[in-house]
Symmetry: C2
Subunit: 176 residues, 2 copies
Amino acid sequence: MTKNKLAAPLPDQDSGSPGDLAFLIAQVGSHSQISFGKRVVPLGLRLAHVGVLKAIFRTNRLTQRELGDTLGMFPSNLVRLIDELEQKGLVRRGHNASDRRSYTLLLTNKGQRMTSELIALTEAHGDRICAALNPLERRELTQLLRKIATGQGLQPGVHPELPGLKSRRATKARTL
Amino acid sequence: MTKNKLAAPLPDQDSGSPGDLAFLIAQVGSHSQISFGKRVVPLGLRLAHVGVLKAIFRTNRLTQRELGDTLGMFPSNLVRLIDELEQKGLVRRGHNASDRRSYTLLLTNKGQRMTSELIALTEAHGDRICAALNPLERRELTQLLRKIATGQGLQPGVHPELPGLKSRRATKARTL
DNA sequence: TATTGTTATACTCTATAACTATA
DNA sequence: TATAGTTATAGAGTATAACAATA
């Protein structure tokens, strides 16, 4: 039998201090990401796949190396990711006439349809996340977060992954 | 020699749609988390340690099981985390008179000093993250995010970890 | 019989180094 | 000699099952 001696009074904990705000940002952000990750599973994709598809969709004819630099991923890990997307028939490695070492990454037709579907899914997801906010509030939130993002030098469209804690590589990234 | 044929025009990408907002939230949130994680390394801690210390600090005399439920962690993984904190002399496993199977987790004096230091660090961190916002904007942002957080049913003070994608357990969590 | 903390282990993901084929 | 992609593998982190002590 659990005692459950309903412990200790709770100190206040979101007093509106900068620290609490930073935590709140991380908390809501993480929730948004996890929630989206779940929505994408029925399509047979993981979050990482989505990032790659989006990047290929936006910047056409990227090389694997360029894609890795842009997303801050290791080329070695990108290989399997692209392999998987290729096996699903979403991405194609096109041969490069001018440099036979490298491939250019292309979306197949199926890949383009998938990307469209992902965009729709993203909108639906965003709508649920922001359900508590009216249109004006959403615009305000967007502007506030954009200010932070540019202030912090974040690459638009690139989601920094967590384990990058160790040694995130210098990113000669191009802008997406 | 890299060709670097500065590829393809860039479609617009933060048009302010709900999907873009959800992405922006996740992006800024992830950045905040990574950045804080780096700041905590010099103290010899990882992000997970901080979460545990905070939780023990807030709710006194928790049991490992209770802590695990609250944070949504597996008891097995909590063991090593507590081991590490105990080895650093920050946490102590106190014996429980009424149930000799379980321990109650306590902060040592050193652990309390560390927690104070962490709180100061958190404030400094938040201040840097929000550097681009004036006090009024910070209050606005806090309120907007709080609306989302409560709307989404987020546990105050509990940061959902990413890999929970798989099968996050039903949390009989108590409130922190 | 059920529960707390633990151990051992499988699985996934990230990071590093070495190899090949081109340049 | 350097670079693109690949392979193999080390290293974290997360999840699951089984066990000893206690209830």
